[in-house]
Amino acid sequence: MADRGLQREAAPPSDAPAERAYEPVIGLEIHVQLATRTKMFCGCELSFGEEPNTRTCPVCLGLPGTLPVTNAEAVHFGLMIGMALGCEPAPRSIFHRKNYFYPDLPKGYQISQYDIPLARDGRLGDIRIHRVHLEEDAAKLVHAGASGRIHGAEASAVDFNRGGTPLVEIVTEPDVRSAAQAAEWLRLLRVTLRQLGVSDVNMDEGSLRCDANVSIRPLGETTLGTKTELKNMNSFRFLERGVNAEIARQEGLMREGAVVSQETLHFDPRTGALSPLRSKEEAHDYRYFPEPDLVPVAPTEAMLERARSALPELPAQRAERLEGDLGLGADTAKLLAFRTGLGDFFEAAVATDGAADARAIANWVVGELVANIGDADPADTKVEPASLARLVAMVGEGAVAGSAAKEVMATLVAEGGDPAEIVEAKGLGAAGADELAGIVAQAMVEQADAVEKIRAGNEKAIGAVMGVVMRETKGRADGAEVQRLIRERL
């Protein structure tokens, strides 16, 4: 499969059983572009698709004599991220210079945090966070020519608009055990960062970028195998596919008795191929040393408090609260917590006077409401939380049957309004007992054959009788009640 072109070392004599089971060990490195007003070390505003090289100044162009100055808002956002991920902020973190030559790096070094990051040792969901640190983004290279890469390009141009954009790098511990888990966790991270309001977290546009360190080991082994690094998988799907492809490649190598060599790989989502990444990522000695142009980041108690108080309730916490306090199912709680707009709508509905049971409301929100609005935010549709609460209450009271209520729901989303008035106007109120009894009796006559079958023990035949009742009542009847009435008359 995808391992052509990869250099393999000579296979040692194999004593591994061919069908041995392997366990993937995955760690993620995530780069988040911060949505600060200005760049990490200068006063240029961040760029959103402006003409190339219009958001630059002597500092972010690396002109001789210029000096960086740390962006206080980036530190604030970084602290918020650190705290949201349960990390301990360092009392004093420092910037280093990471030295390498590349045209997208105007100073010949990237300013990044190294041995003392802004924050470390946290957790999000079931994955531990190793560290959270601040750095600056590189500029963007555009290559003319068929290769699309710098090697073999006819010409290359540099757009420095992106250069110096503040980045937070989040590094997890190698706690992830499958590609699917990696993608799911990254979704949790993204919704968490979005909730913080510190980044656009858009994978297509590169404001959220994910690299994965992948190794495998025989199941039961505790030492780590040799890892490879998969670069820049720019969607959840590509992350999952890339990691799966790499796990399969490594398993293939090991089953053949070959050795995984440490390298950086590029995943091509079109072909599914993994190829070694050349250029600046070749084995490097970055010669890190403390950046003498900057003073350490030493957050004051006021800065820490400001970051702490800026933290909203985070999706993971919200899911726990919805599950624990309101008794929602885990999946429902997660869906409401991860889709912030949906969660907000749900909580507003529950808070309505005389609202029905939270679980019933939750089921209607994640069921019928989502079926009607898709991925849209309910706040952008016509339905009000109070209307939904009212409708669910009416169903609970038996004032409207479930199937009719679905029709009311569709009307609420499309047109808004009061559920009781909609029921009234469309004649969707639950059929009264006498009326229903008459309709059931008539249906049993009409479906005499089916009635005989039911009597003979064919339970499924009850559907034909119910179908008639529902047709006659236009869905205004409660299914359970209809069944009861049929059985009563058998």
Binding site: P64, K107, F289, V295
Partner: protein
């Protein structure tokens, strides 16, 4: 007319402008003519006209300023002595230069220097060495050699330079003028083309201590564009002291004995006697780690330089070699653009930071640096100032040390410890040593003690009575 003007110190000329006895443009033109007639290779660029408006009431009253080519000046060539930046005109001006211009010191010209401030003789300039006005077969010192020679030769009323390991004080000493290296952080580094960021500091080169204080007063200040700048806690005062009563002077044997030429030693001894005559007391203080200062300096400064100079890669500005691919373009640009000493230091610094060597070199050098700072701290618990020769020798001959980098590095052994500790030091002319060439006396004090240093230097200067001018052609 111009002869009279040239004999005035900058402060005196400024007084005349303020008194209405002299126009700022007349003053500028007189100095511009002098600078344009430079035969020492002290200047790289001279203004061709006075600036459009000069406020005679400004504190520096329009007295023009020579500026080391390390400072970026908007639209004006700023090459830092390097071929790799030949013709480069920055789009902005260094903070220190801007402040001085705002205080009324317009730019007279840009002065020659050792390439990227790496050198002690000015022979490392990409544009030819500067000659010492006292003896044109000798070096002016470095790296601010152009600024020092221009002031000494009457080609500029005053100048600014930068000091990393002695680059203001040593050329000031070799040219018989005053040079101050301020406390690290007192003056903004923004717009100074970086050599070694944790050591570089801008300061004045002037004819006398009063000019030095006046110019320094308008350079200092915290700059939001330089995170490491602090400014000074107190205003810089114009010194008036004529006595040294009650001041304790420390004499460190490590920086005053071995390696100091006899003629320099004699001038130094004479200065110590003058200090006592003026009421100061002398005390021996030890700076035990000084002998390791040069070694530490030649690890730390090249390490920082190796990163600071990485930006000269041919991609955006300066020289670009035509080459087939990116790697060759980098290599050939830097091969052609940098001189030997710069390459040597980039290699030294790259090596010192390499994986596996970092702790043995850079890490150890930083620990030595800490020890040196501690040496000074404990010395300043006992004394107010430390006095040493500035340079162990007088100006040496052009070409004399170019084949022996280590001998050249040792030129700085009296001046290197102070920037490693971040503390201020001044060099003032103390008299004449070998070959009747000027000898500098260095006074160092604790961080932010510039006023104390300037007062003491002023008193000592008065007692020395240095007749400070080579024949001015």
């Amino acid at each position: 007319m111009s002869g009279d003007l040239i004999d005035l110190t900058a402060a005196q000329a400024g007084e005349r402008v303020r008194a209405g006895e002299l126009s700022a443009s007349e003053l500028f033109e007189a100095w511009r003519e002098r600078a344009a007639a430079d035969s020492l290779n002290a200047y790289r660029w001279v203004a061709d006209a006075p600036p459009p408006e000069t406020d005679a009431g400004a504190p520096l009253a329009g007295v023009p300023l020579a500026i080391k080519d390390l400072f970026c000046t908007e639209g004006v060539p700023s090459a830092a002595g390097s071929r790799i930046l030949e013709g480069y005109r920055p789009p902005y001006t260094a903070t220190a230069v801007e402040r001085l211009a705002a205080a009324g010191a317009p730019m007279l010209g840009k002065t020659n220097m050792d390439e990227f401030a790496m050198g002690s003789s000015n022979e490392n300039s990409g544009f030819g060495p500067v000659k010492n006005p006292w003896d044109e077969s000798r070096v002016p010192g470095g790296s601010s050699g152009g600024s020092a020679a221009a002031v000494a030769a009457g080609l500029a009323p005053w100048a600014i330079g930068t000091d990393t390991g002695g680059s203001i004080r040593q050329p000031a000493a070799l040219c018989g003028i005053v040079g101050l290296k301020p406390t690290y952080g007192a003056v903004s580094r923004y717009g100074m083309i970086a050599f070694a960021s944790s050591l570089d500091q801008a300061g004045p080169l002037t004819r006398d201590v009063t000019d030095c204080a006046l110019l320094f007063r308008h350079m200092v200040g915290r700059d939001p564009l330089d995170s490491t700048s602090t400014g000074l806690p107190d205003e810089v005062l114009l010194p008036a002291a004529e006595r040294l009563d009650g001041l304790r002077f420390g004499v460190p044997p490590e920086l005053t004995r071995g390696g100091v030429d006899p003629g320099v030693g004699a001038v130094f001894e004479q200065s110590l006697r003058l200090i006592e005559e003026l009421g100061g007391t002398l005390e021996e203080v030890s700076l035990p780690h000084s002998d390791q200062a040069i070694s530490a300096y030649y690890v730390i400064a090249p390490a920082e330089a190796s990163a600071n100079l990485a930006r000269f890669d041919g991609v955006r500005y300066g020289l670009r070699a035509e080459a087939g691919d990116l790697g060759s373009m980098y290599e050939q640009t830097r091969e052609q653009g940098f001189g030997d000493e710069v390459k040597r230091r980039i290699m030294l610094g790259t090596y010192a930071l390499s994986s596996g060597y970092y702790d043995a070199y850079y890490g150890r050098a930083q620990r030595v640096r800490t020890k040196i700072a501690e040496d000074f701290r404990s010395a300043f618990e006992r004394v107010d100032l430390i006095v040493t020769p500035t340079s162990p020798t007088v100006a040496f001959g052009l070409g004399e040390r170019t084949d022996d980098p280590l001998a050249m590095y040792l030129s700085d052994f009296c001046t290197v410890p102070m920037p490693l500790a971040g503390i201020p030091a001044i060099s003032i002319p103390g008299g004449f040593g070998e070959h009747d060439l000027p000898v500098g006396i260095q006074l160092a004090g604790p961080a932010f003690s510039e006023n104390r240093i300037l007062e003491a230097a002023h008193a000592l200067e008065g007692a020395i009575g240095f007749d400070g001018s080579p024949a001015r052609g």
